[in-house]
């Protein structure tokens, strides 16, 4: 074999591309997955809150700090030039990952929350006015509720809520009815962090565009579980957060169509976002820099770039296939337990299980899972209005990722049986 052929063979074996998706190999890439909790192997079912990091991400961040670190966009020296190139290279990586038309449509933010606040504060303040409607769904994370409420309180827009049915499926007809003359923006989750519901995003965008209404999609959960193509969706804004995509915290992404970003005023003022500054007048840089005041999250960007390279090498389709198998298995096992009430049974959904055990407080269930090494989240999951819609105070949420296995679901089921014995 030639060297190249050998390298390719090794790379293929590494991610087991020939044999399909090898979860055991992937698990070995995540150092934390070999640790124990309460003397039991960690079963990490809280990736919806934040995903674990592969060695590639950790190494990339350490490497940049050890060998390449400096500020970007500023220095007249070798390190600054090379790191600026790498940093800007990540913007291209992100653009390719979601198939943006250009890297100039990628604004780096701190997280999803900041990306949505940015759109509300700039696009919202400029293009929305009193009486204009913003449509969200009944299954939004607080990050896609509160910024619009703040805008409502500030300038008098109206929030309209597109309802869901009992399975957690968006009611498309009711959504369509909300797209009236007053509605000037749709801001909707692409995938619910509580129910796992994946909405028909392309259809949602098409319906809104038929009325000339732009659409922001919250892809925090969606980009993690499947291939996203912002041009195919024709989304006007698409936002997500790095730490759920196996990348570091404190970095997020706002994709915005170039013609929209070009019309938006800056978000915060400071260095990096200007063209020229005098005491009399400052002119602002072009997008995306206009929206990136101050020193950006450099190390985090390198980490996010490594995370995207990592999932791309495995393939989002392969990840989705594996997670679909986990979803099917989990739904089956949980469905067999008479005391489990599942929330979120939409036909299109990600491997997120929200449930309660009848007669047992979710906290007691989650504490018992924790004793078994199973990490879940309990409570309202930053979605209080959705909890009210579901008529519960809170749920236990097991949110799975590419590194999880059916055997781990068995561990959870056994722990749920123990909870039944302890509390039932």
């Amino acid at each position: 074999m030639t060297d190249l052929a050998q390298d390719l063979a090794r790379a293929a074996k590494h991610h087991n591309l020939e044999a399909g998706f090898d979860v055991e190999r992937i698990r070995q890439d995540f150092p934390i997955l070999s640790r124990e909790v309460h003397g039991k192997p960690l079963v990490y079912f809280d990736s919806g809150a934040s995903a674990q990091k592969p060695r590639a991400v950790i190494d990339a961040m350490v490497e940049v700090m050890e060998n390449e670190y400096t500020n970007v966009h500023r220095g007249a020296h070798y390190l600054s030039q090379t790191l600026t190139d790498r940093y800007e290279g990540v913007r291209e990586t992100i653009a390719r990952f979601i198939n943006a038309g250009s890297e100039n449509e990628i604004v780096i933010t701190r997280n999803t929350t900041e990306a949505i606040n940015l759109v509300a504060a700039t696009y919202g303040r400029k293009f929305l006015s009193k009486g204009d409607g913003v449509v969200i769904s009944d299954m939004e994370h607080h990050a896609n509720i509160v910024p619009w409420q703040m805008l409502r309180d500030e300038i008098g827009i109206e929030l309209k809520i597109a309802p869901i049915d009992d399975r957690g499926v968006l009611d498309l007809d009711a959504y369509g009815d909300l797209l009236d003359q007053n509605t000037k923006l749709v801001a909707m989750t692409h995938c619910s962090n509580v129910l796992g519901t994946v909405v028909p995003a392309a259809e949602i965008v098409r319906m809104a565009h038929d009325r000339g209404i732009p659409v922001l999609l919250d892809g925090s959960q969606a980009v993690v579980h499947s291939k996203v193509d912002v041009q195919a969706l024709d989304a006007d804004f698409y936002v997500f957060t790095g730490h759920k995509l196996y990348g570091p915290t404190a970095i997020g992404v706002l994709y915005g169509k170039a013609e929209l970003l070009a019309q938006m005023p800056p978000y915060q003022g400071g260095g990096d976002m200007i063209a020229t500054v005098t005491y009399d007048k400052t002119t602002y840089a072009e997008p995306p820099y206009r929206f990136e005041a101050g020193t950006p999250p450099i190390i985090e960007a390198i980490g996010l770039g490594a995370a995207i390279d990592y999932v791309s090498a495995i393939g989002m389709d392969a990840i989705q296939t594996h997670e679909s198998a986990l979803l099917a298995y989990g739904m089956e096992r949980l469905g067999e337990m008479p005391d489990i009430k599942l929330f979120g049974t939409a036909p299109e959904k990600a491997a997120i299980f929200s449930f309660i055990q009848e007669g047992i407080h979710p906290f007691d269930t989650a504490a018992t899972l924790d004793r078994a090494g199973v990490a879940t989240r309990v409570g309202q999951h930053c979605a209080e209005p959705l909890m009210a819609r579901l008529g519960v105070d809170g749920t236990v949420r097991a949110s799975l990722a590419m590194y999880n296995t059916t055997a781990e679901i068995d561990v959870m089921i056994a722990a749920l049986e123990r909870a039944r014995a302890l509390f039932g």
Partner: protein
């Protein structure tokens, strides 16, 4: 201010029992206490917003009265584990004066969990203590005011 040892017998009993157990058994012990707490029902009309302690992942209610100059507490929660924890807290630290209550330390509170639950922050045992201290202070101040009014 130190707390007279004889006032902490219930606390000591809990800590001794927990000490003898491994982590897994401690977990079940706390659940047991939570279940046993139901044998002396908490007044259901006190499970209201007035007695609700804020900032917990499950609901926690604490009622309080002053008997012969010391503070008596009873606690309730909708989660059994938390009911166990709040029962241990109210059982351990009832019968103290306000000053004694103010002298209860973080380490003492930690002694009532001993790693059985990693959700210390959410369970909020320290928050329970603070809440009990606040209730006692409020009663104290109220008593001062009514004494002054007499």
């Amino acid at each position: 201010m130190s707390i007279p040892a004889e006032k902490l017998t219930q606390y000591d009993e809990y800590v001794e029992a927990l000490d003898l157990l491994d982590e897994e058994s401690r977990f079940e012990y706390i659940i047991d206490i939570g279940k046993r707490a139901d044998k002396t029902p908490f007044p259901s009309d006190c499970m209201d917003d007035v007695h609700l302690m804020h900032g917990c992942m499950s609901k926690v209610w604490i009622v309080h009265e002053v008997v012969d100059g010391v503070h008596e507490f009873r606690g309730q929660s909708d989660a059994i584990i938390v009911k166990g924890l709040v029962s241990m807290m109210t059982g351990s630290f009832s019968g103290l004066t306000s000053d004694e209550l103010a002298a209860v330390t973080l380490d003492q509170v930690r002694g009532l969990n001993l790693g059985a639950l990693t959700m210390q922050r959410q369970v909020g045992m320290m928050a329970m203590l603070k809440h009990m201290q606040k209730l006692s202070q409020r009663a104290e101040n109220g008593a001062d005011r009514s004494a002054a009014a007499e």
